[in-house]
């Protein structure tokens, strides 16, 4: 799936991150590959334990140490290998080139500094500037994320703001230096529905203005439907299906994706009985051999249990057209392509 396209910003290949727990080795990210193209939004969707957050943290090398280690693969930002950078070089990349918005705005902000100071801090890393100028830039950054009354809000402390407003401040800090890539890890999970809608709209408009590429980590197919151009579905450390959002929703090809989409009730239509996936996700330190979804899969075949299936292009994938590429790691597709 790696193309020599010049518009690929971030190329991830066979990324492997292991966690060393007392229970044993957990292959949290187990051979994940994807491309992020310029200006697009890529969704990485999965349940807890699927490895989606660990993938995000691996991209900026902020995995919990010493428990976790990136043991293999490659992450290239504009063609440059990130995994070989020194810690100092990495610090320069974070924020400048790749920024992150985390789930909980509360813990992303320091409670003892005003939001203005915290926004200014990101500019200060670019070199000392006079205080008045800093304030100006902080106000401009708040205006950009559509915080009402930024002149006064700039001297607020985090606890004086609502959750939605704090998450805007986190967003302001993240996009302040115009990063090439913005990783948003469940940024709206703690927000209310109407505030979530506002925030998603804000992210869209920032992306349109700045051309930032966004990786959206989420468990919610609704967010994928609303925000993303392409999507990668993760299960137990692996990408089981990826493709353009429209294609994934129209013809989900991996049984896990199919079941997941079918098991979410929609507010728009009345359903008598929801489908549900039986069983539990596998224990991370004791993954089944072969396809990890096999124990829960209604279409399981003998060879699914033998070895892990490779990616197969789906029928809906157009030939040679990169935009339409849609593939799934499922033996059911083997004969088709």
């Amino acid at each position: 799936m790696t193309h020599s396209d010049s518009d690929v910003v971030l190329a991830v290949e066979n990324l492997q991150t292991h966690l060393y727990t007392k229970r044993g080795l957990v292959r949290a990210v187990d051979g994940v590959s994807f491309d992020l193209r310029s200006g697009e939004t890529l969704g990485i969707v999965g349940e807890s334990g699927s490895g989606k957050s660990m993938t995000a943290l691996s991209l900026v090398r902020l995995i919990p140490r010493p428990a976790a280690r990136i043991v293999g693969g490659s992450v290239r930002l504009d063609g440059e290998e990130i995994l070989e950078k020194s810690e100092a070089e990495m610090r320069a990349i974070r924020g400048e080139q790749i920024a992150m918005i985390l789930q909980d705005p509360q813990s992303s902000l320091n409670p003892v500094f005003t939001v203005g100071d915290q926004i200014a801090e990101t500019f200060q890393l670019q070199g000392k500037q006079p205080r008045g100028r800093m304030r100006e830039r902080a106000i401009a950054a708040l205006r950009e994320v559509q915080v009402a009354d930024p002149e006064n809000r700039v001297s607020n402390f985090p606890h004086e703001m609502s959750g939605g407003m704090k998450q805007r401040v986190v967003g302001a800090i993240a996009v302040a230096r115009r990063p090439r890539v913005l990783i948003a890890d469940e940024p709206t999970t703690s927000l209310d529905v109407t505030i979530q809608a506002q925030y998603l709209r804000l992210l869209r408009s920032i992306q349109q203005q700045t051309g930032t590429s966004i990786i959206f980590i989420t468990h919610d197919f609704g967010i994928v439907a609303k925000m993303c151009d392409r999507v990668a579905v993760m299960y137990a450390g692996r990408i089981v299906e990826y493709g353009p959002v429209h294609s994934i929703f129209a013809t989900p090809s991996h049984p896990y994706t199919q079941a997941l989409i079918a098991s979410v009730p929609s507010p728009d239509t009345k359903v008598e009985r929801l489908e549900s996936i039986e069983g539990q996700p596998p224990v991370p330190w004791d993954l089944p051999k072969g396809c990890r979804f096999a124990p829960r899969c209604p279409f399981v075949m003998d060879r699914c249990r033998a070895d892990y299936p490779p990616m197969f292009a789906t029928q809906s994938a157009g030939d040679g057209d990169a935009e339409a590429e849609h593939a799934a790691a499922c033996r059911l597709l083997e004969g088709e392509s």
Partner: protein, 294 residues
């Protein structure tokens, strides 16, 4: 166990920093066993001499490597009593004083702390004012008053210890209960129809046991020092009890001529207290729900 059972859902929950609180502090446990537990259980088997009856002719003998003999490995005091035997017998004094004091202090403090934290309001205010008052009274003053009014005895030193300790338990436990009380499983218990007493005993108490164990371990050290301090000042156990603090006090006047009389009991106090603190810290990390391996 059925294979469908697995650990908590998120993988991040299972990540523990490695190398923290991993190995048990074996040295501390060994020190406590040989210096405190074993001598208090079988002092007569371990002590070579009578701790109370000295041999006048053998008084002020130095320890074995300082010109003394193996007869008295740690030397003798001014009455010719064997220091080693007195330290061995003193261990049981230290242990029984601290166990009794901590148990009673913990009982009073935990009960009041749980009541204060769970019910809140006026009850809480009264108990917490009492805690503050208790904590503001200097230990020495309290010891002095009680020793004068009750006379120095095992009972009066226990009373002093309980009066001091309960407040620490009450304050710590109340804080803990305040947060446990807000947890959803307490709501669930109320919805199930559990009485206040049942909630306190079945739901809250098991969740503070860890804190109690850690607190008690760290308090043993505090109590040994308290007992030593009080005895040193002559407010604790009456002579000729071989209490460690009392021995340090008695050796003080002879510190230049016969340093060993005060030195070895002092060293015992230090080693035991240090070992208890290390053990207590390890237990705290070990039992902390946030660090515990679920």
């Amino acid at each position: 166990m059925p294979s469908s059972i697995r650990e908590s859902g998120s993988s991040s929950r299972d990540v523990r920093p490695r190398g923290r609180s991993g190995r048990a502090p074996f040295v501390s446990i060994a020190i406590l066993f040989f210096f405190l537990v074993l001598p208090s259980l079988v002092p007569d088997l371990m002590a070579p001499h009578d701790p109370l009856q000295g041999v006048f002719a053998d008084r002020l003998r130095p320890p074995v490597f300082f010109g003394g003999t193996w007869e008295y490995p740690l030397g003798t005091d001014q009455l010719g009593r064997d220091i080693l035997s007195r330290i061995i017998h003193g261990a049981s004094v230290s242990l029984s004083v601290s166990l009794t004091g901590i148990f009673l202090g913990g009982l009073v403090g935990t009960t009041l702390g749980m009541i204060a934290g769970y019910f809140g309001g006026a009850v809480d205010a009264i108990i917490m004012r009492l805690v503050e008052v208790t904590m503001s009274i200097p230990l020495i003053l309290l010891g002095l008053v009680l020793a004068l009014s009750l006379g120095s005895s095992f009972q009066s030193i226990i009373i002093v210890i309980v009066l001091v300790l309960w407040a620490y338990y009450a304050r710590q436990i109340r804080g803990e209960v305040l947060t446990i009380r807000e947890r959803v499983f307490i709501d669930r218990a109320r919805v199930a129809g559990a009485s206040h007493l049942r909630i306190l005993i079945r739901h809250i108490f098991p969740n503070i046991v860890n804190t109690l164990i850690v607190l008690a371990t760290l308090q043993v050290a505090v109590v040994i020092i308290m007992e030593a301090t009080l005895s040193f000042l002559g407010l604790g156990l009456p002579r000729p009890f071989p209490a460690w603090g009392l021995m340090v006090a008695d050796g003080r006047t002879l510190i230049v001529r016969a340093w060993w009389i005060a030195f070895f009991p002092g060293l015992s106090i230090m080693l035991v207290v240090l070992a208890l603190n290390v053990l207590g810290d390890w237990l705290r990390d070990r039992l902390d729900p946030k660090l515990r391996q679920l």
